[in-house]
């Protein structure tokens, strides 16, 4: 288990390095940092002077290594736009995004697992059909459209929930549902398929032959095995949600990392964009690693050689 974890960690570090390199090259290729800092009215001389003073005239590799060295010590530079350290900016915005992602994941799981189980217990029943319709709908509706429809219904017509900002828990309800609903179909169908397969397995028959109560058979023996793939998917989906939060946070004006990413991209704030991409990919890698470890924890066939 230890050797396995170490190997995974080493691989993860290599992936982070690659992602950071690619991001650095791509942002620099897309945007001229000197122009971005100087602004629209700057003269060519001003821009060149800026380029020299910020060291943008050095080879890209040197700039990257410079950036990487600083990043390793937690220094991601300063935002061109806000003139504050990027690290501070991110730490300030991160709780909002994490809360949003967590709530969305919680919403998705608490809706999809029970639905998946019920659907699996009675395949092709009305409940199963309803669950299937919900999942098709979930995958077909674009997140932003669904979010806007909710704003119209719950925010403007019914006036139940606030439509923008991140001041109270109520501000998180609609964004979480909008973000989580998109992940629901995948969870539900995986739960359903897993449960149908597990319920037909020999060890479920053994459990019933022991005279165990239906609830014990269902939750202890069946669900435990059926949710193993759901858990790993959940970890990966959480990563998707952090990515998806860019859209949702922008729609609901939630001041999280996603909103910051959108602002920074539209204003060519390179250091912030680079740090956010690095941060999200770090999370992604961490979550995939977590998924593997959770899988190993839940499935003794992986854990105990």
């Amino acid at each position: 288990m230890l050797a396995y974890s170490l190997k995974r960690l080493l691989l993860a570090a290599l992936v982070v390095l690659t992602v950071s390199g690619i991001t650095f090259i791509m942002t620099n290729a897309a945007i001229d940092p000197a122009k971005a800092i100087a602004g629209a009215n700057a003269t060519i001389e001003d821009i060149e002077a800026l380029r020299r003073s910020f060291g943008f005239d050095r080879p890209l590799v040197i700039q990257y290594l410079d950036w990487l060295g600083n990043a390793l010590t937690g220094n991601f530079g300063e935002s061109y736009r806000l003139r504050t350290p990027v690290a501070e900016l991110l730490l300030d915005r991160l709780p909002v995004t994490m809360t949003l992602g967590g709530c969305a994941l919680l919403f998705a799981l608490s809706l999809s697992i029970p639905l998946g189980v019920v659907a699996a217990l009675k395949p092709n029943s009305p409940v199963d059909r309803l669950a299937l319709s919900l999942s098709v709908l979930g995958q077909a509706l674009p997140t932003f459209w669904f979010a806007l429809m909710m704003i119209i219904l719950f925010g403007i017509v019914l006036r139940w929930l606030p439509i923008s900002g991140s001041g109270s828990w109520a501000h998180f309800v609609m964004p979480s549902i909008a973000l989580g609903y998109y992940a629901t179909p995948a969870f539900m169908r995986l739960t359903r398929a897993g449960m149908i397969e597990v319920l037909a397995s020999d060890y479920i028959r053994t459990a019933r032959a022991k005279g165990l109560r239906p609830a014990t058979v269902l939750f202890k023996h069946a669900l435990r095995n059926a949710v193993i793939p759901v858990v790993s998917l959940a970890a990966v989906q959480f990563g998707f949600m952090l990515g998806g939060s860019v859209v949702i946070e922008t729609i609901f004006a939630l001041h999280g990392v996603g909103f910051l990413a959108w602002e920074s991209i539209s204003r060519s704030d390179i250091p912030v964009v680079q740090a956010i991409v690095l941060l999200i990919s770090l999370f992604y890698i961490f979550l995939t690693l977590l998924a593997d470890l959770l899988n190993a924890y839940l499935d003794p066939r992986i854990r105990v050689g």
Binding site: S201, D202, Y203, R205, T206, A207, R208, A209, K210, G211, L212, R213, P214, T216, K220, H221, R224, N225, L298, D299, P300, R301, V304
Partner: protein, 335 residues
């Protein structure tokens, strides 16, 4: 001796779009305390469904009916699912064919052994643990206490089947139903497991209902035999009666399929029964075996053949008189 299990006219029906499938068609048998009844037959003869129907673990669509279905005098048919689950794993337990897949991969064998005991007995975890260790030792597993923490995938097939047997014994059942318990195992392990079952049965005075297609196993462990064909019992009797004087052409054919050391000549053909089991839709209109029977006459296909009782527990389902059957077998063996 008193009967642990009494089954009379047990039927299993499965409604399908194309008609009603009747894989078990009115069979009757009993298992006495301390006795092993073997139910023999080829794949698809309904022997596994018979065992599942006694446990009431049939697939949802399948319907079970019987005139009598008594476990130690208690009517199993009158029990709802809740009452039935109190009986399962407690008064009667089942051992399955596939030890590789019959244990839950997510839990230790200790956990899976203990939960059966905790479900049916007012016992502490410690008592359940002690019982599990005791039974693991009993089924011949060394270092039993340390095995409790192991997962099924860490054990070999033979060990897993021993665990399954120990699991079935946790609550001291009166009846064990073993559905092809050794089919998935190596021949050497088969012998060990059968020996173990026989020893435990004698020691604990349980009734054992053993489902198998292997006549070698029957010869070794059975007290009485019921031969099943196409959902019906075609012959029953003590193991001695059935093996030394098989009456039904199907039983005779089955027995001729086994090579006998010293008797079967090297290079000679082993017997085989041509044809396949008929589809089991609707009610029988003729002898089900007629299309594969070398002695078939027009009378065989005119009407269904009833089971003819000869003596207590001895019966056969053929229109030929006993003497003709015996003579047929003698001629076939000599040929």
């Amino acid at each position: 001796m008193s009967a642990i299990l009494e089954v009379e006219n047990l039927r299993v029906e499965i409604p399908l779009a194309t008609g009603t499938l009747v894989p078990v068609r009115g069979i009757s048998f009993s298992v006495q305390r301390g006795e092993t009844l073997c139910i023999v037959g080829e794949s698809g003869c309904g022997k596994s469904l018979t065992s599942l129907s006694i446990m009431n673990l049939l697939p949802k669509r399948a319907k079970r009916t019987a005139n009598r279905l008594l476990l130690g005098g208690a009517d199993l048919q009158g029990m709802d699912e809740r009452a039935m689950s109190d009986v399962r794993g407690n008064r009667m337990a089942m051992i399955f064919q596939e030890p590789m897949t019959s244990l839950n991969p997510a839990y230790t064998i200790g956990n899976q052994l203990e939960e059966a005991f905790l479900r049916h007995r007012k016992a502490s975890r410690r008592e359940a643990r002690e019982r599990a260790v005791f039974l693991l030792e009993k089924v011949g597993i060394s270092a039993a206490a340390s095995r409790l923490g192991q997962y099924p995938h860490q054990l070999s097939g033979g060990l897993r089947q021993r665990v399954m047997i120990a699991m079935a014994l946790m609550c001291g059942p009166e009846l064990i139903i073993a559905d092809e318990p050794t089919t998935a195992l190596d021949v050497t392990i088969q012998a060990q497991i059968l020996h173990l079952l026989a020893t435990l049965q004698r020691e604990l005075q349980m009734g054992v209902m053993l489902i198998t297609h292997d006549l070698g196993i029957v010869a070794r462990v059975a007290d009485r035999v019921a031969v099943m064909y196409a959902g019906e019992i075609v012959e029953s009797g003590t193991v001695h009666e059935v093996f030394s004087r098989p009456l039904h052409p199907y039983t005779q054919g089955l027995l001729r399929c086994i090579p006998v050391p010293g008797k079967t000549r090297r290079g000679s053909h082993l017997g085989s029964i041509p044809g396949v089991v008929p589809a089991l839709f609707g009610e029988p209109t003729q002898c089900n075996f007629a299309n594969r029977c070398e002695y078939a006459t027009p009378a065989c296909t005119a009407a269904p053949v009833p089971l003819t009782p000869l003596s207590e527990g001895r019966a056969y389902r053929c229109i030929l008189p006993v003497e003709t059957c015996i003579a047929n077998q003698a001629r076939a063996v000599a040929a």
